[in-house]
């Protein structure tokens, strides 16, 4: 598991890329990514191109990010989901909360 971040030049858009298993072990790194590295970001892209698996604690982490990013007004896209990951997000009906591609 690793968490990489990339902040747009104006500091407003933060991309967080999670590789490997997105589970509880990513908790601290994921949180650090948006809390400490980019406190001024207003929109977020979660890039899951290298994410093999996602469990319910990862869903919890996404909800935490959503809360941090303003709750209902949060702008978060979850992109490059593989079929398994997409299925988990779909089962949980997370497309009602996030833009999922």
């Amino acid at each position: 598991m690793s968490v990489d971040t990339n902040l747009s030049s104006d500091g407003r858009e933060l991309t967080i890329r999670v590789s490997g298993r997105f589970d509880f072990s990513a908790h601290q790194a994921f949180r650090d990514a948006y809390e400490n590295l980019a406190p001024d970001a207003s929109s977020y892209i979660i890039d899951l191109r290298d994410t093999s698996y996602l469990d319910s604690s990862a869903l919890g982490m996404l909800l935490l990010l959503r809360d941090h990013a303003g709750g209902d007004s949060a702008q978060i896209s979850v992109i490059n989901c593989n079929a398994d990951v997409k299925k988990i997000l779909k089962i949980s009906n997370f497309e009602q909360l996030f833009r999922i591609y």
């Binding site: 319910s56 919890g60 209902d72 089962i91 009906n93 909360l97």
Partner: protein, 572 residues
């Protein structure tokens, strides 16, 4: 530091004196022994931190003494440094095998000796810390296990007065499921129906278990008071949203079964697909979750809409937590949806599906078997009579209550659209001690009269629609549409009670704003053909007349009055 206590065992007075001096000079405390036996005695008496032991001594010698001391020390680490002028490798090896930790060659080098003593003392200190931590962990673990047992007992008291043992329910649930976040609840409704809830909290352990408590409380409390599935999921969501930290939630399926109308209403949030297996033609209908899990959304954004389905006798619902889908075999593959679907499709008989899933799972997991996280539920539709008694309501009600009272409660359009008055009405009626034993029947009367007043009276729906299963679904769609479009209309509920502590009389009167109907003709006709009563009063009428002392329509047919005498007569 004066802390290090050193035992020096050497038969040679000169060597012993020299060594003792060196060790004391370094700030340590010295205990001396002149032979192996003395060394063992001194060890017992003084509990030294480190032992410096001559190898060749009269009597049992250094190696044997070292063996005894190590044996007596048990788990404690007592470093033994052999004092030797031996040079032969085999001799040195023999010293280590007897339990020695290191050597010190004569003549002694004070700098090396001090370094060795300090280093072994640090090691012993570290060992003690580890032991203490290990013991603390063991104590904490015992404590945790006891706490979990207590918590489980408390949870069982809250959760298991339900009706999971009903003949229409089969389930597989780990004994400590509450600590892996799985919750299974079932309860009979006062009107005779049944509510079942399968929940899967995020996470494990206490954080997962903690949300299960209020969930069970709300589920049982509201079900007993006659609330419907939508009110209950909404209330649970509100509660969990308020108490759980962001990021924690509960994936859940709740089903409400109506044994009289053979329907089920489902609310599914964040759960894997469930299935409805029809007894007729063995059709398999997947049931998909359409909502977010409980606890995620605020009350304002929460969606309590349900799926209504026909659910005929021997039709089966299957639900599970994601543990079953994620169960792995030795190759690390997951059991998955396809395997489940295959079992459901190709079992010899629908009645065997549940066992077949268990078997298939067990075979799939092989030696990896770990059922701890697997929760599986089957709910079957059957006739109400086969389920046994509906449990009676609150057993610990007060012995005395209000006996002479009346009320009139008027519900306008907005209330009719959004509010279910039955729990409130039941709550008031249940204050009368003598009525508590028939709360289920009373709920049926209230619910039947209220839906007649609302659906036929105010909304003008034709109950003949309900005669076919397809019509039944259409009836409820139509009901929903008319309700939302309703501009005016009302239902007035009047209740009167009189009596004493031994017996009493309850009158329920429902007055709706509808046009009424020609009840006199209907009643006259029904005397000849009792079955026709169903035409205008729904299917509950036979039940009503068995409970009510009298049941009369009044005025233009928009008023109905039921009288209930208690205690109920023997045949009632």
């Amino acid at each position: 530091m004066t802390g290090i206590r050193v035992l020096i065992a050497d038969d040679n007075l000169v060597d012993r004196k020299l060594l003792s001096r060196i060790v004391r000079n370094q700030g340590n405390t010295v205990v001396e022994a002149t032979c192996g036996e003395e060394a063992i005695l001194a060890f017992r008496e003084h509990h030294p931190d480190i032992v410096l032991m001559d190898v060749l001594m009269p009597g049992i010698g250094g190696k044997e003494a070292a063996r005894c001391i190590k044996a007596e020390a048990g788990e404690d680490m007592v470093p033994i440094i052999f004092l030797t002028s031996l040079t032969d490798a085999h001799d040195l090896a023999a010293c280590l095998e007897s339990g020695g930790d290191d050597f010190m060659n004569k003549p002694y080098n004070p700098v090396v000796l001090e370094a060795k003593i300090r280093s072994f003392y640090r090691m012993r200190d570290m060992h003690r810390t580890l032991q203490a931590q290990r013991d603390t962990i063991a104590v904490h673990n015992d404590h945790l296990i006891r706490e979990q047992e207590t918590a489980k007992a408390v949870f069982d008291n809250v959760a298991h007065h339900g009706c999971l043992s009903s003949p229409n329910i089969r389930y597989m649930l780990s004994p400590l499921a509450v600590f892996n976040g799985d919750v299974l609840l079932a309860a009979r409704c006062p009107g005779g129906g049944m509510h079942v809830l399968l929940g899967d909290f995020t996470g494990h352990g206490l954080p997962a278990a903690i949300g299960a408590m209020p969930m069970a409380e709300i589920f049982y409390g509201m079900t007993a008071k006659g609330f419907g599935i939508r009110d209950i999921v909404r209330e649970i969501n509100l509660k969990l949203h308020n108490i759980l930290p962001v990021g924690f939630f509960c994936c859940a399926t709740m089903a409400a079964l109506d044994f009289d109308n053979k329907t089920t209403s489902l609310w599914m949030g964040g759960v894997p697909d469930g299935y409805l297996l029809r007894s007729k033609n063995r059709e398999l209908e997947p049931l998909c979750s359409t909502h977010l899990p409980l606890g995620v959304l605020s009350n304002a954004r929460f969606n309590d809409s349900v799926i209504d389905l026909n659910f005929n006798n021997d039709d089966r619902l299957f639900f599970w937590s994601d543990g079953i889908l994620e169960a792995r075999n030795s190759a690390g593959e997951m059991f998955g949806q396809e395997r489940l679907e295959h079992v459901m499709r190709y079992s010899i008989s629908p009645t065997l599906v549940f066992e077949d899933i268990q078997t298939a799972l067990s075979e799939f997991q092989g030696t990896q078997k770990n059922d701890d996280d697997v929760t599986l539920l089957e709910v079957v539709m059957m006739d109400r009579e086969l389920l046994g008694e509906t449990p009676v309501g609150p057993a610990n009600a007060p012995a005395s209550g209000p006996l002479d009272w009346s009320l009139s409660y008027r519900l306008g359009p907005q209330s009719l659209q959004t509010f279910n008055p039955l729990p409130l009405m039941m709550h008031i009626i249940m204050e009368v001690p003598g009525l508590q034993s028939i709360n289920g029947q009373l709920y049926s009367v209230l619910s039947e009269l209220y839906s007649n007043a609302l659906e036929h009276g105010v909304l003008g729906l034709d109950s003949s629609l309900k005669h076919s299963p397809e019509g039944f679904m259409r009836y409820y769609q139509e009901r929903e549409t008319r309700l939302q479009q309703m501009g005016n209309g009302h239902v007035i509920i009047e209740m009167e009670h009189s009596g004493n502590v031994e017996h009493g009389r309850l009158v329920l009167r429902f007055r709706d704003s509808g046009p009424g109907f020609d009840w006199q003709t209907m009643v006259n006709r029904s005397r000849c053909t009792p079955g026709d009563a169903h035409r205008y009063c729904g299917r509950g009428i036979p039940l009503l007349s068995s409970i009510c002392t009298s049941l009369e329509y009044k005025e233009k047919g928009n008023v109905v009055e039921a009288e209930i005498m208690w205690p109920p007569t023997a045949e009632g």
